[in-house]
């Protein structure tokens, strides 16, 4: 009894209740990890000898950046599955990822700016990673805009899926070119500031926050997909059976 296989999960009929059962556990786990990580990062971890207490923004900034990338990868995976196998749930997955990814990216950019201001004196410095994140934000916004501009759901799903895949191929190229550009012009760097080695006392809260953000992401993803299912499968018989107590 290992639960539904991936095949069965691809059907909204099974996915919906399955996600519903998982959600309370994931939500609680995410909350615990995030509160623990944040508390540890704010109160327990020692101050950095170079940056003082401002480095604590890292416990938000780094997980947000990690999630902004992870979300795109998950979205690209869903896009690929949708284009190749036409599984509608994959399209719902991809659709859900775009605004979430944009939110994580925006959070990364703002916290990056707040982290950098006391160090650089300006609210924005064209640091390689922040600039890459900015381009990533544009990619997400493009996906959201494209889906919004197309009325027919079939075309909308397939067009955004193709765009997501074109984007995922280009992300390494864009990232490499921005790093390249940065070495030519040498503005300040957040990554250099974070130091080559992280103090172990700072590592634990960081990992807790990354784990917490990731579990949170999965939970929100599942919840949003359940909403999509309800909206799209309105007439489905299995839903009516769910309604009847």
């Amino acid at each position: 009894m290992f639960g539904p296989t991936l095949d069965r999960l691809a059907a909204p009929k099974f996915f919906y209740p399955f996600a519903g059962r998982l959600l309370p556990w994931l939500g609680t786990l995410a909350a615990v990890l995030l509160l623990l990580g944040a508390g540890w990062g704010l109160a327990v971890a020692p101050a950095d000898y170079q940056q003082g207490d401002s480095y604590r923004i890292m416990f938000i900034h780094v997980p947000a950046a990690w999630l902004s990338m992870l979300t795109y990868m998950v979205m690209a995976g869903g896009a690929f599955v949708f284009l190749v196998w036409r599984i509608k749930l994959a399209d719902m997955l991809a659709k859900t990822c775009a605004p979430l990814g944009a939110a994580f990216t925006a959070l990364t950019l703002v916290t990056g700016s707040l982290w950098g201001k006391p160090m650089w004196g300006t609210w924005w410095a064209w640091d390689a990673r922040l600039t890459s994140e900015l381009v990533l934000l544009f990619l997400y916004l493009g996906l959201i805009a494209l889906r919004g501009a197309i009325d027919e759901p079939q075309r909308a799903g397939r067009a955004t899926a193709l765009l997501a895949l074109v984007g995922v191929v280009n992300i390494p190229i864009i990232h490499f070119s921005v790093e390249w550009w940065n070495t030519l012009h040498q503005p300040a760097s957040l990554t250099r500031m974070a130091g080559p080695a992280i103090h172990p006392a700072m590592l634990t809260p960081l990992l807790l926050m990354i784990a917490g953000f990731t579990v949170y992401f999965v939970a929100v993803l599942l919840q949003r997909m359940r909403c999509e299912i309800l909206e799209r499968e309105q007439q489905a018989r299995w839903l009516t059976e769910l309604d009847a107590p």
Binding site: G52, D53, I60, A103, W115, V220, Q223, C227, L230
Partner: protein, 49 residues
């Protein structure tokens, strides 16, 4: 306690970061939850086809 809030002089940068994170995470969790409940309610009140 006030030392904790001051964050070594960087309080004005650290706390808004955490507050923003709480806002972003909170909104993204609350909105789908609310939407889900609304969708379920609409199913109840909609006349059966």
């Amino acid at each position: 306690m006030s030392e904790f809030l001051a964050m070594g002089g960087y309080g004005a940068y650290v706390w808004p970061s955490y507050a923003l994170a709480a806002l972003v995470l909170g909104l993204n969790a609350w909105l789908p939850w609310r939407r889900h409940r609304r969708l379920l309610r609409e199913r109840q009140t909609r006349p059966e086809t």
